[in-house]
């Protein structure tokens, strides 16, 4: 459990005077209730030096949620109200630093000197947003060709726990040319934390990285603060410094689990999959921090939502899918023995803002055609499973699918977008007639013909 240095926290506080309460009326697993007046909703407090937050006020009865749990809290615990909602000191000094869920350094470095701002602050006025239009190139064709990402977008990886989502995410982050990369780690293992640290250090990117980490060694409820901490830091760099900021949130499923723990302890009526009824709003408030500002700054959110057994109808991925601008599905393709970005369930909603506009005009049709042919191959596979013969077309789609998977869908690809499109044309020409691909005649003429296997 996290050890908080009482003297240090007190020093952080700007208000000198604090009344100390020492009589708690009621204690539950997660909360304690006491008499106090003049307390603001969502205000922070210390209960025997553990951080807590006001979740309910009824008359002069104030209920506090203690982030690290109430084990061992006595009825005469010292309660000090801090007079503000959770906050973070923001300044350029954040760069290259590692923090816990409360925004306190865990890298042995000094406190950050900066403006204190409350986390989870107000939303951007929709009419002040700019439409995202900057393509983020990752070199991975499963993303750039089929599910092109754009700055200001919010998109999660949907992956089973055994998939290398953190590796892929780190790779995407480093290739993305962002001014800042902010990692929000929720319930990640210490090994994963060290993995990120190493990858960023090895890439020489450490001074562009800021991390807020809650590992499996920390109390789960603490992780509820992590995304807001990360996004508050992101807003500072994007809105005030006009930088392009990439926020990585992993694992949002564990974040949602913490929400359900809290709502359960507060006796709220659960909705689907024991999740709180407010799950959609809770997640949307975070993801909607993704934004393109008119002055050039942007916040892009790439998250991880782990699935159990690939089930996307579970309330967590389901609500996430309704909020984010698409999703990237990782799947092991047993035909080629590699992890691929699954073209069927993956989607980037913002791709149409850039494909065929910032990329070559044949990009949209080539992408769609390849996926359709890949779907035909899946049908052919079903035929085999049902014991039927394959037609010549079926056989060609299956060969196409294998090569498409290897040359374009696998996550170890790192090529330019034009090369991706040309590769797809080559595969079309190798396996199909123009009538079978059904691409606009002008495009075949202009781009398709020169891309034969031999060119």
């Amino acid at each position: 459990m996290l050890k908080l240095n009482k003297a240090k926290i007190k020093r952080m506080e700007t208000t000198a005077f604090q009344k100390i309460h020492t009589k708690i009326d009621q204690i539950t697993k997660a909360t304690c209730t006491l008499h106090a007046s003049g307390i603001g909703n969502e205000e922070m407090a210390l209960v025997n030096d553990r951080l807590a937050q006001v979740v309910k006020i009824e008359g002069d009865l104030v209920t506090l949620q203690i982030f690290s749990g109430t084990e061992g809290i006595p009825t005469n615990a010292e309660v000090v109200f801090l007079g503000h909602a959770p906050q973070l000191a923001v300044s350029d000094e954040l760069s290259g630093r590692f923090f816990n869920a409360y925004g306190q350094p865990i890298d042995g470095g000094p406190e950050v000197d900066g403006n204190m701002v409350e986390i989870g602050g107000p939303s951007v006025n929709p009419v002040r947003r700019k439409q995202p239009s900057e393509l983020i190139a990752t070199g991975i064709a499963g993303i750039d060709l089929n599910n092109t990402l754009v700055t200001g977008q919010k998109i999660p990886f949907f992956a089973d726990p055994d998939q290398p989502y953190n590796q892929v995410m780190a790779m995407v982050a480093l290739r993305a040319k962002a001014d800042k990369i902010i990692l929000g780690g929720m319930g990640i293992t210490n090994d994963d934390y060290l993995f990120f640290k190493n990858v960023f250090e090895n890439a020489g990117a450490i001074d562009r990285i800021i991390s807020f980490v809650n590992t499996t060694e920390n109390p789960p409820v603490e992780r509820l603060l992590v995304p807001d901490m990360a996004l508050t830091a992101a807003e500072y760099f994007a809105a005030e410094k006009n930088q392009s900021v990439l926020v990585l949130l992993t694992d949002m499923t564990l974040y949602a689990d913490a929400l359900s723990i809290v709502s359960n302890r507060m006796d709220q009526i659960p909705s689907k999959d024991s999740m709180p009824g407010s799950l959609y709003s809770d997640l949307a408030k975070l993801y909607e921090k993704a934004v393109q500002f008119p002055e050039g700054g942007s916040i892009t959110i790439i998250a991880v939502t782990t699935l159990s057994g690939g089930d996307i109808t579970h309330a967590i991925p389901d609500n996430t899918g309704y909020i984010t601008e698409g999703q990237l599905f990782l799947r092991k393709d047993t035909d080629i023995g590699k992890v691929i970005i699954d073209p069927f369930r993956s989607l980037s909603r913002l791709k149409q803002l850039v494909i065929g506009k910032k990329t070559r005009e044949d990009h949209p049709q080539v992408m769609n055609t390849a996926i359709r042919l890949y779907a035909d191959a899946a049908n052919a596979k079903t035929k085999i499973e049902n014991g039927f013969d394959l037609t010549d077309y079926d056989k060609r789609t299956m060969s196409f699918a294998k090569e498409y998977s290897e040359k374009l869908l696998a996550i170890d690809i790192n090529i330019e977008i034009d090369t991706m499109i040309d590769t797809a044309w080559k595969l079309f020409n190798k396996y199909f007639s123009p009538a079978e691909t059904g691409i606009k005649a002008e495009l075949v003429e202009k781009y398709g013909k020169q891309n034969t296997e031999n060119t």
Binding site: G38, G40, N41, E42, E43, K56, I57, E58, G59, A85, E118, G120, G121, P122, S123, V124, N125, P126, V127, R128, K130, Q131, P132, G152, I269, P270, S271, K272, G277, Y280, S281, A284, K285, E288, V291, T313, H314, A315, D318, G321, Y322, I323, G326, Q327, L347, R349, N368, I371, R372, A375, T382, G387, F388, D389, T391, Y393, P434, A435, G438, A441
Partner: protein, 590 residues
């Protein structure tokens, strides 16, 4: 004296207020929070306490804060200047707010108080008028915006004074009316109306019958909607609800589009802000934004205002309907509104219904849909509000409370299929599972027989039948294998695929394909059906697939070409040639 109170409890955005006087259900009040006023609505009343939902974050709010009650419910401000505006859920003008971030309590006026409008009287001194009667008009963008007797006026009035042609501000008096008791009432160009109460100043609301063209083939050519009709679009995430709604906003035949962006993504509203001022309205040649009003309560904006946002949008639509206009109201997504109701109901510890939604959810939804409709106004003119909402079913499962309740309320069902979306068959409306109840209305059939084509409805039923037979054939092929079924099963299946690829699928992002005028839809439908009536001869099943793929390919090239252009005709004759290769009995191609 207005009632006041003091905050005595705070549970998220549910606030308990100890009151010193009478309060009414749904009354609006303002909490004084360190110099900022937070708007809230009474949602339950106890013996000494009012329970209010605050339309803002309550962070930092303290007990003891003062509350002022206003004596009225949540109202919309109705007058010239609504068109082209971007409002929040409570009708505050988003463009007038300062700064990049939304600030608590920044409540801006929905209209331009100082703008001059050129007014033209329509009524004369001595005219008998009643609520909703047209007194005069001003030109708003290009819409003749009627200035009406306020809807809240009950009984008969006589026009005592009416302003001459001239320039006036919205709050200037433009007429004086005298009631039965000889009392005089001043009327300006602005009136207020409680959003939760339907505006009912029309004479009659018949069953709707007038075909509403959308340019979307799978709707017009298979499940048409009518002016004043209702429809809903359920679908799992990412299946195309929003793209479909945006297509409707751009293409549908309406004088005005009111959009309620309810608890969805801000970037989707930004897309409208960015594109609509540039895009042309195909019917008027003006910019699309000129006929559009947006009510944005995106998912990061206050949850309690989500419910208000759909009612605000409906009230605005009804207001313009009273001017004799055709309004299309779109809400994306009504599920978010239902979820907002659920959050509040749970906070108030009400007994939950299915999936923890409030028990009266079905009644709330059907009352809302009932506000749409085609009406005859008291002056004999007609107006309509067509409403199409999206539904986001949890887990994509249509057997959930919001979908089920909406199914009972809406007459058109546009079901988006995950399978179709996965295989990029956009728009992913499942044409067979979906329906339009209007196809059963004799008055609708009569109408389209006259205005579209005598056999239009027959063609629709025929096309649907081909789709159903194709689906059955496909299932048989899957069970018995390609060579386990007669060759004509393949033919039946591929004929349904032609309808799928040529009529149902439509590229929302292609300039030409995105919108298909009804003339062109008719033409293509006839062509496709003629082809379905043609008998073909094949040696073996392996010939069928490539042959029809060629046909589909040429058809698609036609869809991408300007109607009746050289290119279009070239593909058409190419098609003719392909058909001749295998056709047994040549059926006349129209």
């Amino acid at each position: 004296m207005a009632t006041t109170g003091k905050v005595s409890g705070i549970i998220a955005n549910l606030v308990i207020v100890k009151v010193d006087g009478p309060v009414s259900q749904n009354e609006i009040c303002y909490i004084n929070h360190v110099g900022v006023k937070l708007m809230a609505e009474v949602i339950r009343i106890g013996s000494k306490n009012a329970y209010i939902q605050v339309f803002e974050s309550t962070r930092g709010l303290k007990t003891g804060s003062g509350v002022e009650f206003t004596g009225h419910m949540l109202e919309a401000t109705l007058g010239p200047g609504i068109l082209s505006k971007n409002f929040d859920g409570l009708q505050h003008d988003l463009d007038k707010m300062d700064g990049i971030f939304l600030q608590k309590g920044d409540y801006t006026h929905p209209l331009e108080v100082d703008k001059l409008w050129s007014f033209k009287p329509l009524a004369k001194i001595g005219d008998e008028v009643e609520a909703g009667s047209w007194l005069g008009e001003v030109t708003e963008n290009w819409i003749p915006h009627k200035i009406m007797v306020p809807f809240a006026f009950t009984g008969d009035f006589k026009v005592k004074e009416i302003n001459a042609v001239g320039e006036y501000k919205i709050y200037d008096t433009i007429a004086v009316l005298e009631d039965k008791n000889g009392q005089e009432h001043k009327v300006s160009m602005v009136q207020r109306w409680p959003v939760k109460i339907p505006i009912r100043t029309f004479k009659e609301k018949p069953r709707p019958f007038d075909f509403l063209e959308t340019g979307i083939r799978v709707i017009d050519s298979l499940n048409p909607i009518v002016e004043g009709g209702t429809g809903f679009i359920p679908g799992p995430f990412g299946t195309g609800k929003t793209v479909l709604q945006h297509a409707l906003m751009k293409q549908a035949e309406a004088d005005m589009i009111v959009v309620a962006a309810c608890g969805e993504r801000a970037n989707e509203v930004v897309e409208i802000f960015a594109e609509f001022p540039k895009l042309d309205d195909p019917r008027t040649g003006r910019k699309l934004m000129e006929r559009t009003t947006i009510i944005a309560n995106t998912s990061n904006m206050p949850v309690a205002a989500r419910e208000a946002s759909v009612y605000t949008a409906m009230t605005i639509a009804e207001y313009y309907r009273s001017m004799g206009l055709k309004i299309l109201l779109l809400a994306d997504s009504t599920s978010r509104w239902a979820q907002a109701l659920r959050e509040m109901s749970n906070r108030m510890e009400e007994l939950p219904g299915p999936d923890a939604f409030p028990m009266d959810l079905p009644a709330i939804i059907s009352n809302f849909y009932a506000r749409a409709g085609f009406v005859y106004l008291t002056n004999g003119k007609t107006g309509s509000v067509t409403f199409i909402g999206t539904v986001s079913p949890a887990g994509g499962n249509l057997k959930e409370p919001v979908t089920e309740a909406t199914k009972k309320a809406a007459r058109c069902f546009y079901s988006l299929s995950q399978n179709r979306a996965d295989s990029k068959r956009y728009p992913a409306i499942d044409a067979v599972d979906s329906y339009s109840k209007y196809l059963e209305y004799p008055e609708f059939i009569e109408f389209v027989e006259k205005t579209v084509a005598p056999n239009w409805v027959d063609n629709i039923l025929k096309a649907k039948n081909i789709l159903i037979r194709g689906r059955e054939a496909y299932e048989q092929i899957n069970i018995l294998g390609d060579d386990g079924v007669p060759i004509n099963y393949h033919e039946i299946f591929w004929k349904s695929e032609i309808i799928d690829f040529v009529i149902l699928q439509q590229d929302a992002f292609d300039k030409i394909d995105a919108s298909t005028p009804i003339e062109r839809q008719k033409y293509m439908m006839e062509k496709v059906l003629a082809l379905a009536d043609t008998h073909f001869e094949f040696e073996n099943f392996e010939e069928v697939n490539p042959y029809f793929k060629r046909i589909i390919n040429v058809f698609k090239q036609m869809n991408y070409s300007e109607f009746q252009s050289e290119k279009f005709k070239k593909f058409e004759s190419e098609l003719q040639d392909i058909v001749k290769e295998k056709a047994v009995v040549e059926v006349e191609q129209s």
